[in-house]
Symmetry: D2
Subunit: 456 residues, 4 copies
């Protein structure tokens, strides 16, 4: 779970301010670090720091940089430690020239690749799986960068949406299954590549199309060339969780509006529930859109039953035990005026450890709600993700530990239902055989996605 | 527009962590600076800094301070320059001992008081009107602090909700008109005073009651004593704008739920509007609750037609002209899926300069809306506030510059309506003669609230 | 022990850059904090921070300020806590206008004055004794600043060299005993007042003369006026320790070159010492000049027998016990090449706790010195200073705890001698009745300098 | 010009606090950055930052690290840009395990090596010549680190004094010519390697011996093994400039005390100079020791004729033109008392651009000196250094631009003399054929030290 961005101005306008804005729109995909890279006089340069985009990068300084093509990255922890060396874009000035790379996804065969490369003299500087692409390129002496990249991509397995920068050329590549989203946009003479379409909207750019699974785009002064990554074709496997949780609601991914999908997910929850004296509320802010869909479908009032402190966010409040035990409510405050004597239906997009749900159910009852029903707009997550999403381990996934009735009892709700996998697929509107629902049902692309030794 | 807080633990528990949380809940009342004060061995101590509560104060350090009573303040600029000397609480160790004061409101006769005091040797350290209270106290030699404070309050005019700290005693005082809110709460053996009840909720404390206009509370180890501030009784004058805009929706002020008032304000807008093919949307986040009320009343779908980047906040993005002119959309992104071919009714709580409204109307149309109707859940603001609200000058208040039809044309909407003053009063549910609506209709408490010379 | 500076340009040139340089030259007089003050449009402004001059103040920003007169201060802790509120210049905008004050010295009757002022409404903001002058001025309603200052100075007792800033006028004042130095200088149309002449040298300015004990100078656009501070005349009492230790060697104080005095102090030590096979070395850097004088007088080679790490300074190195006990030598490194088989004569300007001396004697012997003789270029300090020098308490003053032979044995030297008070007076060249030698012989100006109640 | 340090405790005591102190003593060899490296559980760790040792490293944190062997480095700019990536130690966790390296010196064949390595897939992360050693090691697959290092060293040419860290073993290596110093020390069970002996003194450790040219020491739990670096023997070529300028005076390098050499350099200047009415003064602080030698030899008084502001150091003072032109004296202040009517003989260790000398000569005359003679305790520098010293370019070297009489006239002195190369060699006491005096006379080790292609 990261965000990538790239821009190429054919008229030679500076683009780093737009890369900054693109990353700013993709901030929800990664808050750990942010970075940009560009090439100047044949030397690749980078600015990256820990923190949010506006903390990590100085917009004013970027605006002054004369570079007509550049890439950027926001990072959420996946593989590798949380240190600055692992933040992206990764860059190198190697024998064939400068190169920068930004990666969303996860390679599943990285250990084998590292062994292969170290035996040939490679010194790895990061613990990011992305560096294997750079090292694979560098270990093809005399091969021009584009061919070296294509060969490197033919060696890696797993999920990747990449933006890559060579001297005077911007590359976009999406793995053959299309796990993670990647879109192409345009405004006037400038082309953009972004993880989500909301990063085109912020710039006033037009969404041209999604990059296709297995496609590699080469953008330079002459225009755009589309090629195929030299790998065997694979089943399309778009991540369903992007629609449920990750993506911004105003993005359109592989042709579907995330907002509309989320409302439909809420509508699908309108089963087996009494509407008498009921109100529907979303868990702020993650459940709001599905809650709107459910309320509309049930024809029940939508209320903001729980107010979220809007200054909560990156504030880390570590209370002493004395105060913590006294039952403080830092983030969420229920509204007794709205809840008193009501059947409260609370919608959230997922349920991980169950601690927030337990607390919210108690708040609802303390505020006078007669019944508290919890509705989750996705199926239970019970399997790990190998394709770039940082799911908790099974031990932490409460749905993997107990059945739904036990879980309902544990969190103290009057009822608890999840969406079925079928409803999820219907709501998204993409055929089931083109969606990855592995974290819900364990049906991984390969029999066993793992890190096996590689024959290069 | 500031927030005050105070806590007194009768069992001697440390309270500064709770003061921190109280201020955190009051963050919406002031983001310029935050501070706390306490007394230790007869010496008043203070920590204050520019910025949000979690930036200005170190919660971990505060938790270690051994003080069973303390006060706090968040500051929004009103009178005085934006420098640290003006941030509150203001403190002094004077002849009668230590004193700290935190103030929400604005004195209207401060210039006269300053002249009087300087002629008696006073050296003012801040340019905050609040310091006059400290100086008036210090210039009553031999008078014990509580009596000196009461005499000082009898000399000041205007709006104040105060928390004051003496050695081993916490004071709360509210001006005779009750302009600004101030509530009393309790949890176990600890009493709390806060600008709004949401600051009690965060602590799990119970709202006991509002401090009455003209009341001064003395809280110490023996309990709470209520006294009257020695001034002539005055017409009650609660600020209507707290309900419309300032207060948090989950607060209850002078007996009214802010959330319920805002929904009713929205309902009152359900006049002269076609519901055919309509959707209602709130300007995020300020118009959401009134929009819910309006949608419900009209029985029209409520949609999130405009998505707000939730990382926008304190980020200041200053674009170069080139990019700015290219029509970037930093904060708000419309949802064409929701807006296409619809009559979009957009609700906001007020309309100051009209620039955001103009931009939003254009966004709506570009996203395919057939009609765009703007509804404002308050009357036009056309008069300045002398009681602590930092209203723009008349020149900046667009409603003071043109009539509503011209304004509607200027922002490009198909229709624009405001609430009437009568609807506003009805929705709040407080009798008109107990409400201050001066910024809407110019009916100030005094004929001419100003800073006149004082007879002491 | 602090440093003051002031500048007045009659042609209206900006002076703050020169005030910065003046403070930079006076850095040795105070490293705790630094500050400047100037007046702009009738408002007094100040910049002050903890740390050295170049840390506390931004030279570049100061150079841009348009002020043709200003004052500055470097602070060494004396009275009052080490917090920024106590750093100087202290400033006030009071009824009669703006005022700023910078003080070197110490008032001996401050407690009485504070009581008197607090009973008249004063709120003290600092715990600096200097604030009493501002408060005394403010409590003379209707009196113009200059007269108010003169009256205030007639109430305080003790040591002071002051620079004071009024609107368009710079004041310099030195107490009637002339404890601390204060000089007047000039370059072109600009007058300077400084604690020491080295602050004139840095600017290329000429030393005109010392400010006389009991003199107050008023410098404005018309020139310089000299007046007498309205107090009873007092015995002149220049601080002898300025010559021994405080002042920079390149300063000239009350007509005497500090460098020449220090060389003579060294010459006076040329008694009762065998020169056979001897070398003379100074304790770096405090004993160097006296050591030169002694070596020349004895006609014995001067060597740098101990090298000081020139990066030691403000570095605070706190070692773990394990390493500390292993005998590390952070600051000083002996030179066996120079010391082997020699009679080493080590000169220092004073001997406070004896710990460094003990360590150095051991180092000398470990490096092969046959004999180690310690010579101190001042008499033993056995009495506290009430006039602005931060002498250790008697308990810490090793010379107050034991006689010289015991002390010699304790530090392990072959011999130890101090200067006599008579030699000190002779070397300085100022008549004994005009010198303060109280810290050596207890002969204070008053019978008992203390903080007694004041009749105002 | 850098400093290296290493420590190995055979009893397993933590050594990083001692490495910190060692670097602190070597601070004069590099003020740009400082760093340390150690190995923990098979992973090499590093802390490095820009700035002085006490700024770049946290002594308190280092003291807590459990590592019984570690290396450190202080960096002065030589090759490569001044960015943190180039600061040392450089580290890698490569196929054969962890490695860290700290380097003083300069490789003369680095370009060829980089090309060779990049053609084999190497991605260089720094622009430091030192990284070639790491890359050469990594490109010997299956070769154990010690052998890989020895082979790597057989490929590089130029100057190096290295400390290298492997898992559980500390390496010291000095190039076959012994350009830069490197010593071995011991205290109890711990061995130390350092650029200069003063870094042993600070720890109370004993100097065992110099590392021999071409020697590589392996220090581990079993003791110390000495081996020969597998290269052809080369002429010994110790850097003469270490004695003149670089090294700390309290260091002993290749058997010679730097302090004693500098005094002798001063003595050698005692030619062709009238001692009548003369005083000798050193340019502070660089000329002091040679000045002592000259004064003693001439039997003329040594005086501190110029006082250096001891707070000058890393302060960067950038004056406005107005003030700069007014003739301010930031760093140096002459002493008229000492100079008046004298023949002033001023000694410095070198003369680079001549600007300081010109200013000092003028100061002397303004202070009343009748004659001003400049004496330089080294020959004129007219050739560049290829072995790690950052000499100015010929254009900046004033001695390469004009003959001595012209230079004397330019700086305005009455006479100017340099040391001859013969005197320099005599004073150092090392045979001429074992000294590098290339910067004075152009006699480089190779005919043309340059960066030629490499046969590996």
């Amino acid at each position: 779970m990261c965000g990538v961005f790239g821009a190429y101005s054919q008229s030679g306008s500076p683009v780093l301010e737009e890369v900054y804005l693109g990353l700013y729109a993709l901030q929800h995909r990664g808050q750990l670090s942010a970075g940009v890279a560009w090439i100047n006089n044949g030397i690749v340069r980078t600015k990256k720091n820990m923190g949010l985009v506006h903390e990590a990068l100085n917009q004013h300084d970027l605006a002054k940089i004369d570079a007509h093509t550049a890439i950027g990255h926001v990072r959420h922890v996946t593989e590798g430690e949380n240190r600055i060396e692992n933040s992206q874009p990764l860059v190198a000035n190697y024998a064939q020239g400068p190169v920068a790379i930004a990666h969303n996804g996860n390679f599943t065969n990285v250990n084998g690749l590292i062994g292969y490369l170290e035996n040939r003299g490679a010194i790895f500087q990061s613990s990011s799986d992305t560096e294997t692409v750079l090292q694979l390129m560098a270990h093809q002496p005399g091969v021009v960068p584009l061919e070296a990249l294509k060969t490197a991509l033919s060696k890696v397995q797993g999920a990747y949406s990449l933006t890559v920068l060579f001297d005077n050329c911007l590359i976009a590549a999406r793995d053959p299954s299309g796990f993670r989203p990647l879109v192409l946009g345009q405004k006037n003479d400038t082309y953009y590549v972004a993880s989500e379409s909301c990063a085109l909207d912020i710039l006033g750019a037009k969404l041209i199309r999604d990059i296709k699974p297995g496609e590699i785009l080469i953008i330079d002064s002459r225009g755009i060339i589309s090629q195929k990554i030299p790998v065997q074709e694979q089943k399309c496997c778009h991540c369903a969780f992007e629609y449920v949780y990750f993506a911004r609601p105003d993005s359109v991914i592989d042709g579907r509006s995330v907002y509309c999908v989320r409302k439909k997910l809420g509508e699908c929850l309108a089963k087996n529930i009494s509407t008498k004296n009921a109100i529907v509320s979303g868990m702020p802010d993650s459940g709001t859109i599905a809650a709107l869909g459910l309320a509309e479908k049930l024809d029940v009032p939508f209320e903001i039953g729980i107010i979220r402190n809007r200054y909560v966010g990156r504030t880390f409040i570590q209370l002493t035990q004395r105060v913590r035990e006294a039952g403080v409510k830092i983030k969420l405050n229920p509204q007794p005026q709205v809840l008193k004597d009501k059947n409260a239906i609370i919608v959230d997009d997922s349920l991980v450890r169950g601690t927030t749900a337990t607390r919210v159910v108690k708040m609802m009852r303390d505020s006078g709600a007669k019944k508290v029903h919890i509705r989750i707009s996705s199926p239970p997550i019970v399997f790990p993700c190998y394709y770039g999403i940082d799911t908790p381990s099974s031990k932490e996934l409460i749905a993997a530990q107990m059945d739904i009735p036990s879980l309902c009892e544990k969190i103290g709700a009057d009822s608890l239902t999840y969406l079925t996998c079928e409803d999820l697929v219907d709501a998204i509107g993409i055929p089931k055989d083109k969606l990855c629902t592995a974290c819900f049902d364990g049906s991984y692309l390969e029999n066993k996605p793992c890190d096996n030794l590689l024959e290069v």
